[in-house]
């Protein structure tokens, strides 16, 4: 019951997170900014519009947004939220989670390549380079958590790790993993030190360039998927940091939502105070997330 409720909550409130981030960015720049619900209006508007397909595209281009959204929804089924268990949890769902998101990304890249535009091809190549570095960082971090908690599912890990354990054994490792996962969160969601979601300058885009040719409901699906991914990685971060333990249903969900708001506000501030890194420095940043994860596994394994 809790799991179903948190799943529906994720599906309905995910588009709010980019709204919060944008509001924080606007406020710290001294502007008023768009309303918090702007993303919902955009999605509704896009759903009503028609679609334009280029002559060079094939069925892959049409299938890609749908598959991405489906993969993100399936991954969402595995992620626990608000102290409860996830809808689906079994031994090793950690790997399924990583590969569901990898599949979503694979189809995003395929869709971009399918347009035949060299511009989108460039974005695709960058995206693949980034993901090649991020995936090991994510997997190693969670492997360290798995070996330290003795659980091998996301739900199990998020139930066993808690903020309190930061001050006990393997606390240092947990702290390292939290920082690594924050970097993974920013990278996977194409946020500022790695990619700028606002820019439409060809030299700097990674995620935005790959979705340039999508329109109408397709674009709506992609935007929605991006919001869902923010929610998914945010929920994982909360799962690691959250003072877990048994809460009542309302309390757990409330804590989860508060954590999500904190992450959104933090992201907004990071985006306000930092500039996007030059492209040659980006692999170094992601490599440092990898380094943190490996260091955590060494400390845990020692």
């Amino acid at each position: 019951m809790t799991s179903l409720l948190s799943f529906i909550l994720a599906l309905t409130t995910a588009p709010l997170i980019p709204g919060i981030i944008n509001r924080i960015k606007a406020v710290s720049a001294g502007r008023q900014g768009p309303p918090l619900l702007q993303n919902y209006y955009d999605l509704a508007k896009l759903m009503k519009k028609g679609v334009v397909y280029s002559h060079t595209t094939t069925w892959l281009f049409k299938a890609s947004p749908v598959i991405q959204c489906a993969a993100a929804c399936a991954a969402l089924l595995i992620v626990p939220f608000g102290g409860g268990a996830a809808l689906l949890h079994f031994k090793g769902d950690l790997l399924l989670f990583a590969y569901l998101l990898a599949m979503g990304r694979f189809f995003l890249v395929l869709g971009a390549l399918d347009t035949g535009s060299s511009f989108e091809g460039m974005g695709a190549s960058r995206e693949v380079l980034i993901s090649a570095l991020t995936e090991p960082a994510f997997l190693l971090g969670f492997t360290a958590l798995a070996s330290f908690t003795g659980r091998f599912s996301l739900t199990g890990i998020c139930h066993s790790v808690s903020f309190l354990s930061l001050f006990e054994s393997a606390g240092t490792a947990t702290l390292l993993i939290v920082v690594a996962m924050m970097l993974v969160f920013l990278t996977e969601n194409a946020r500022i030190p790695v990619d700028d979601p606002n820019t439409h300058l060809e030299l700097t885009m990674v995620h935005e360039v790959m979705v340039l040719d999508h329109s109408g409901p397709d674009l709506a699906l992609i935007e929605y998927t991006a919001a869902l991914k923010l929610w998914i990685y945010g929920a994982l971060l909360i799962g690691i940091v959250n003072p877990a333990g048994r809460h009542t249903l309302a309390m757990g969900l409330l804590i989860g939502l508060a954590g999500m708001a904190v992450i959104a506000i933090l992201t907004g501030f990071i985006e306000s105070i930092m500039a996007r890194l030059p492209w040659v420095r980006v692999p170094q940043l992601i490599a440092s997330a990898l380094v943190l994860s490996i260091l955590a596994s060494i400390i845990v394994g020692w």
């Binding site: 001050f167 006990e168 606390g171 240092t172 390292l176 692999p283 170094q284 490599a287 440092s288 990898l290 380094v291 490996i294 260091l295 060494i298 400390i299 020692w302």
Partner: protein, 214 residues
Amino acid sequence: MKTVLEILVTLLILSNLLLMGSSRLGTLIRTVAAQALILGLMSILNHWHCLEWGLMLTAFVSILIKAMILPRLLTRAVREAHVRREVEPIVGFTASLLIGLLLLAVSVYLGSQLKQPQSGYASLLTPTSLFSMMVGLFILVSRRKALTQVLGYLAMENGIYAFGLAFTVRETFLVEIGILLDVFVAVFVMGIMIYHINRNFDHIDTDKLAMLKE
């Protein structure tokens, strides 16, 4: 106390990786200074229950020299030589970072082969000290600027200090101070040398110095 020490060891490893991945000389100098500070704190915390005057004095003198005086000296050398960053290292910075990981793995393996006198965090200190020495050595051979090489030498010295800490080797006060004085004089002389090399040849690239002939 144990958690604090574990965090300090982790910081030591992270600072070594920072040394591998950073190009700015200012950052490198501050990192090496921070390492010396961490090591000084660790040697005090390590003997928290049986503190002696000699030990306290050695720790404080080493913090004073390695975390305060030497960084000042090197910052001055950076200013005089007009070198802000290592521009073209022989091994690139992302590659250095990945090699750093490899060195970390090697030192963890070596550390696990050694007989550990202590358990817990202290046994993590042995691989960390080996790692520090390897990082220092790697920086010595893979960077071009003389100043960066001096910093590599200092990182290696920190590693040796950490090794002594891991095996709770307690030299007498005189020996410790003697070693410190050696390091101090070495870096002092190197700083002056760099200044003169820079004034005579307008650069401190060591691989160009190999071509000098009278």
